[in-house]
Symmetry: D2
Subunit: 356 residues, 4 copies
């Protein structure tokens, strides 16, 4: 209810503030008998970590995960997997200037209103640092779902966007550039643009596309917990996300039924895929694909007028090391949340048929 858990069968609960002792979580419901590759989990964390390239925050946080339980001799035991990531780089002093002030378009003001107090040393629980825990759990979900392929990439930064459909792109390029864009030329343009924006002390938004392949038919629950509804919630729960669309998305709203309907092949696949791999909330075996829109990071390196807790206007300027554009580091987060949703529904689908 307090909203720090995600999933029902495969369930992640996270804890931890950006400037506390540690972040971490508990994965409850991971089935027994999965051989875990811990290095692969750490590799996913490294895709998210600060300081990995010239276009992301230059903070140095190693983000090393320690597992406490639920794994024995390298195999999951079916019991809860507890883990923590120590905060090793909390420079609390960096944040003293914001103790009594509410940063524009940050959650400082609403936290104080909601709880009556807040951990003023940073974003606290609203910091995107929390997503490191999601990446850990998502990496385990990926290993559980070893047959399913999750691929996310940056499809837009500011006004620079990919026009090619995902089928025309070479996914092996994604991790070869710091933007995580599968079109090398666009990647260069995006990188140059991010650097320019950073030089201006500004930030910029972007879009991530995610493609899920080799999904079995039948995942998703038909009414409130439709597969795309949970994917949408999962994505919208990531910091800075403003929109989600799947399949034909917003463009589908201007189409006619005769254009939009996907016609069957004899094997149950469809000739087109405006449906985005989901019919009535249930996977149909075709590729699932969706877009996630991210707003520009609110912390900018320019002076801004804002409010303090006494109701006075004060001038504030972002300090420290922040991301000029969040999407390159958000790619593994999008994949992680997608994997958590699919892992959960994979388990839940085991409940739907009578077995004698």
């Amino acid at each position: 209810m307090a909203g720090n858990s995600f999933g029902q069968g495969f369930r992640l609960t996270t804890f931890g503030e950006s400037h506390g002792a540690a972040l971490g979580g508990v994965i409850d419901g991971c089935p027994a008998g999965i051989k875990l590759d811990v290095a692969a989990i750490q590799a996913e964390l490294d895709r998210r970590k600060p300081g990995q390239s010239a276009i992301v925050t230059q903070r140095k946080e190693p983000d090393t995960v320690e597992f406490f339980s639920g794994i024995f001799e390298g195999i999951t035991t079916g019991t809860p997997i507890g883990f923590a990531i120590r905060n090793t780089n909390q420079k609390s002093k960096d944040y003293s200037h914001i103790k009594d002030s509410y940063r524009p378009s940050h959650a400082d003001y609403v936290y104080e209103q909601k709880y009556g107090l807040r951990d003023y040393r940073g974003g606290g629980r609203s910091s995107a640092r929390e997503t490191a825990c999601r990446v850990v759990a998502g990496a385990i979900a990926k290993q559980f779902l070893s047959e399913v392929k999750f691929t996310a990439y940056v499809s837009a930064v500011g006004d620079i966007s990919l026009s090619k459909p995902y089928q025309a792109l070479d996914f092996s390029v994604i991790e070869k550039n710091p933007v995580r864009c599968p079109d090398p030329q666009k990647a260069e343009e995006m990188e140059a643009y991010i650097k320019k924006i950073r030089k201006q002390g500004d930030t910029v938004g972007g879009v991530i596309r995610c493609v899920i392949q080799n999904v079995p038919v039948g995942l998703g629950e038909p009414v409130f917990d439709k597969l795309h509804a949970e994917l949408g919630k999962a994505m919208l729960s990531i910091n800075a996300v403003k929109g989600f669309e799947y399949g034909s998305g917003f463009a589908g709203a201007s189409m006619t039924g005769s254009q939009h309907n996907d016609h069957y092949n004899e094997d149950g696949t469809t000739k087109t895929n405006y449906s985005g791999g989901i019919q009535g909330g249930i996977s149909n075996g075709m590729d699932i694909y969706f877009n996630v829109a991210f707003k520009p990071v609110a912390t900018i390196m320019q002076a801004q007028e804002t409010l303090n807790s006494k109701g006075e206007f004060v001038t504030m300027q972002g300090k420290g090391r922040h991301d000029p554009c969040v999407v390159p580091r958000a790619v593994p987060i999008v994949e992680a949340m997608a994997a958590l949703v699919l892992a959960d529904f994979t388990l839940l689908q085991r409940l739907n048929k009578h077995q004698i």
Copy 2:
């Protein structure tokens, strides 16, 4: 887990297929002491009902709600509110032609794969008829939240869309035309277009905008259950929805931080509202606004080739009385789901502070 419940504190569970005896639901967690206006609940149902105008399905279903419990002398008692809506117009014969065939872009095929069998008489549980129950519960949620104002309207049908911001529109116009569009001229264009599309035996998609006003500060839980994440899930759980965006939405992805940041007034309100009334997943007291994209209805009155359960191609043509465009009737559903989300978070917010 089977996904027929929505909400935690204010929780709706629904049941019922399009061609069974009845649909209905249980609202668990509605606080005691709310004076209910039952006529107002029925009026919301009437906004959703078939046959209400020339541009929606001409089926005649009165959709009368019967309450079983939880209300005593016109006041909620805090105990669960059970209700049902009888299906009075199930013409099962209308559907015999689809018994063994999978309608394109419908859920027939995935239901059969998921459950091993399906109620072939209609959409069963995947029918939008299920949303009548949401409208009942949403109407009660609105009465619980009597201070909050929920307004949804059609902002696009096919390529015809409103360009004006919601602040420039006269909401009192919405219910005065069958499209539920607050711009009278655009409403006429949309109506003419829908009629034309229907004459072609085709269907068309559209967009609904929803505005929630007078929301208290502090609603929403900060991590997975962000206010906009639950709103997104709520909307994506409505039949035919393909996308959700709030505040600046997808357009925000191409903006810079210096453009996008909302600056404070002295009273904690903001000068702009790109945030869409939500910061870090928590309401900030500004208007919440979002867009919901609907695909065109899959049932068209044109012959289509499709698959039957033997894996053969067959020709199928929609029969009966279907909506050429779903958005006019979806307006009250969007409002209902928004009200359910806000009711839930209003209750949950009572838990967050220590009271001595």
Copy 3:
């Protein structure tokens, strides 16, 4: 959260007051493909219904269940099963004398304190009439678990109790006497005692023993949701229940480990069964057995002094037709709740192992 649902995978939500229009419920998560015997469900309801013998309440309530959804051509579809039982015998006038008074050892006073108001026409939601819905759902759970055998019986009424272990009893006798006691001589004693107590305008408590046989190994979750913990909660949630013990129970507290340990046979069964079929919260394949203690019904046909809503003492005397002893009619309720617990854990156990 408001506590009207039970179970996670196989989940029952109930609604309805004793004197409203109807009681009913929704079973969400019943797997698809179960052939339902509706007559068998009604037969379970008939075991619980008033007026069935000379030693229970003489109210006439047919308690006929109507199913709304989730069943198609006699088979469960995997979608929620909605149902209702009409209240046909609400003599609201019978209860006018208690409108402003709190019956001793009833929930009138706490309801009014909890909710600020109450449906004064009867017990409202605290009436044991609610358990009719549990019997419906339990009957479906039994059909889902067709291999498992649930047997409950009355093992004590007042001071008259069975001393024989359940293995020495003939379960086929249970339904052959109105007390539902498998020892014919004790049954006669109990029946005579109940009649005597009723003649005195008094009531008496009793104990029900339940035995669950042919349970697969592995049901139950190891920490908070231990199989016996959920069984205990299930039983304690039945009206008038004051205690629960399983296996050796309270007697086990005075034993030594060398006496109490159950030693294995070669096939994994055990020579003794002090454990009551459950080890560490997980079924071990041996018979599960437990006792449930019921207090005497609070409504007695004697004058009692009690309090009214003005804080004054008033004299009150039970009217109408009440049970002098609740245990004969509670036997099917105990079985129903046991079946709901086992159905739920049977589903949940599908989630615990990796399947490749």
Copy 4:
């Protein structure tokens, strides 16, 4: 669903095996603004820890709790409280003799059947070591409910039991003897008996009584989540518990209604309290009291024949340092679980009334 969480509003999730790196948990839903006394939390852990007296296990485990999050400047922030307790004394070698054998009346066999594998180094997740996490969370719940008084004590060890009602006992004596029994003479007898039993290499069971005082009226949800049903589940989820009874308990089953009914005083209190402070599942403001029966510890220091994983009989003898009687150390666990239940229902009760 995997059963490692307890509570809805005030929710504890635990992780950790007896022989892994650490145990720990997350408390989600603890309200913001509670000043925490960390020393008092550690003091509760010390009441549970091994080695505290001559009649409990002589293992040396300091059981020091480390908090990771959710507390800022000594005050709860409303965000999840993550914590861990390192396992510092895992002598895995001690357990090699049980790697392939199933200890009688332990969960070894059922774990292996349930999950397909198990952490053979000890009880794993079925070890009572898990309850240390409950004590941490319960200590925080107690501080949240500073007005409510939780007192548990040992009321029986083997056949030695207290006959006095709790009102006649001096609770200040409880912590002054190693048995935690408020009757000094009985405490001595119990202590002597436990020492004798240990010398025999045997173990013995016992009973704990818990009294909860100063409870507000209105806690508990009326149907499935009755206050005593959740208390019962909470207690039955503690290792080795075989039975739970509240108020008149099993003895109430042989009483008549005219004896058992609690009559009101003018202020809404009652003259007697057979109800045990709960009516219809809802607290009535009177003392809540209940008994919890514990079986003898299964690990005995005598040779026992048991089964190995090949289906062969082997002789096994308990090694190491085990409790001859579990109840002295279980006293703080019972209190902790009671506090968790009350904390949860205290929060949930905030949802039940309309507030304008």
